[in-house]
Subunit: 246 residues, 3 copies
């Protein structure tokens, strides 16, 4: 059983957190809220999302799992105004989700959850450096790096956060000192990541006030942020590109 | 003989009413105003347009007919500012239309009216249900339906207006009760239409305050509205798609 | 030696003046400012640009020449905010230009100036008619002409400036009398130009308050304007298309 009401903005953000990486997702339903774990087809990026009951105007659910076509749901959500309330109602027998908004009643067929790629276990990483940075600074760094190359190095030097990108002929560096960041826990950290994935992630992470980066040495990076007035939590984990070197 | 002055906005709207269906049109000139009837190449949609003398700042015409390349005229009208007055002057000998606006003087060759598809007789339909609806509600219904399918059912149930679309797996319904409409005359009405055509028509119909729909059972639908401060009248007639059924 | 600081807006305008014609440019450095002459690949249009020392917030240079990939520099400049100050520093040994802006440090490889097309001598033309016109009037004339044809005639009749374009079937004329212009020195002038090139030039010339046109009879046209608060000067010279005629 699942029926709930939520404002269009946090619901749209929830869908977007997943849909920058995947087109279909398994959503777990539980009395305390909904959650999802998804991995992009190339196994480079993973996202773990949780949206608590309190993010909703009303919420009732028993434990369950549904498969959602995010592309379709995004198309439907284009009809919602900024202040519209979205009513969601699961029709378990018909395997359909009823979605109502401002005079419109959609019925969307659900996907068979077993047809969607199995979510992996979320590895628990002990990453030495932690940086709390404004979302738009992060987005700017990613955009700046994309002007010269395909990869970005992200790390910490002393108590300064840096990112740098090296193209065939050109380079860019961005440094943010302790007082230009919201917070930093220094540590031995420098890893290289694909800008393709970081650009996707920065579409959602770039909108929020603050994000936390957990970084290590040639290790995956966590990109964490809250949304939906603190009732939603997104954690992206991005695999590093390890230089084979000479 | 035809020479006239008109503000750019009503003139642009007049061209648009025709150009959502056709690229070339025959315009009838008469002392009381101009008019046109055009049918789209696939014979699915027809538009009948009339713009009275009073829509113009000045107007002089004798009975006649001219052929207009709407694509070219649209391109020229992109040069007109919102408050520009457009001066039109027919050069009958040269088969050209002189178009002046804010320092620019265009001379546009006319088409031979006999080369343009002959307009059909406008059938007079006795349709049982009449709905007066806000233009943007109509546009929203068409847009909402397009999210799930290619066709839309439009009709009346009791004194409620409804539209519904059924895709392969998903559905949408929109209902507007009597007090959500400007007016309704109930009647036995439900017909299916191609969304392709309704999207074209809603480009113009969606901009006006109110439009009238005349609907029957598996019958064509009329979509009527006034523009140019009431001095212009547009009537689209759209053929239904009749389900062949099993 | 070259190191300088300049606000992003005049620097962006400087790059744009060149990049509407070419993708790579040789920039001359001198103690009093920078300059460049570039010719488009088809030899139809030439631009001569000078930006004086006073356009910069700080400026130090010895005589020299550098080769710039304008496409790359444009991409980098997309990162600059409107009020950002751009710091430029030439690394002569590495053949690189360091570009700093608001927390970002780019290093851009320079091109070998000898690999860039040699700039021609700027011909000194004695053109009889001179028109000082607002940039947006010039841009509008070019845009209006493009609605009907590929070429535009530009000239002077009495003390009226005119442009006219003739397509296969349609025509447009624009006339600006003495009091609609900023200034005019009448003279025997009428030349035909390719709209392709004029559209490129009007991207930059259309933005400034006033431009000066020097026009002759079947002769090249000069299009001159100042920018960067008067410290920058751009002169485009455009070859005419001479009608072979019957």
């Amino acid at each position: 059983m699942f029926n709930a009401e939520i404002k269009s903005e946090p619901f749209r953000n929830t869908i977007e957190v997943l849909s920058v990486l995947v087109q279909e997702a398994k959503i777990k339903l539980a009395p305390h809220g909904i959650s999802s774990i998804a991995v992009d087809p190339a196994n480079i990026a993973m996202v773990s999302l949780a949206l608590a009951k309190d993010a909703f105007d009303s919420f009732e659910a028993t434990d369950g799992e549904i498969g959602i076509d995010l592309v379709k749901l995004n198309r439907i959500m284009e009809m919602a105004g900024k202040d519209d309330v979205i009513k969601l109602d699961l029709d378990e027998n018909a395997h359909k989700l009823d979605i109502q908004m401002h005079g419109l009643a959609y019925t969307m067929a659900l996907l068979d959850p077993s047809s969607i790629r199995k979510e992996p276990k979320v590895p628990i990483l002990d990453l030495p450096a932690h940086i709390v940075i404004r979302g738009d600074d992060f987005k700017r760094a990613v955009k700046a790096a994309d002007k010269v190359g395909d990869y970005i190095n992200i790390g910490v030097k002393g108590d300064t956060f840096f990112m740098e990108a090296n193209g065939d002929t050109d380079e860019v560096q961005m440094e943010l000192t302790k007082d230009q960041l919201i917070d930093i826990t220094p540590g031995d950290a420098k890893s290289m990541f694909s800008l393709n994935y970081l650009q996707d992630v920065s579409k959602t992470a770039g909108k929020v006030d603050q994000i936390t980066l957990d970084v290590g040495k040639d290790y995956p990076m966590n990109i964490k942020f809250a949304f939906a007035e603190g009732h939603g939590q997104a954690v992206y984990m991005l695999a590093p590109r390890v230089d084979s070197g000479p």
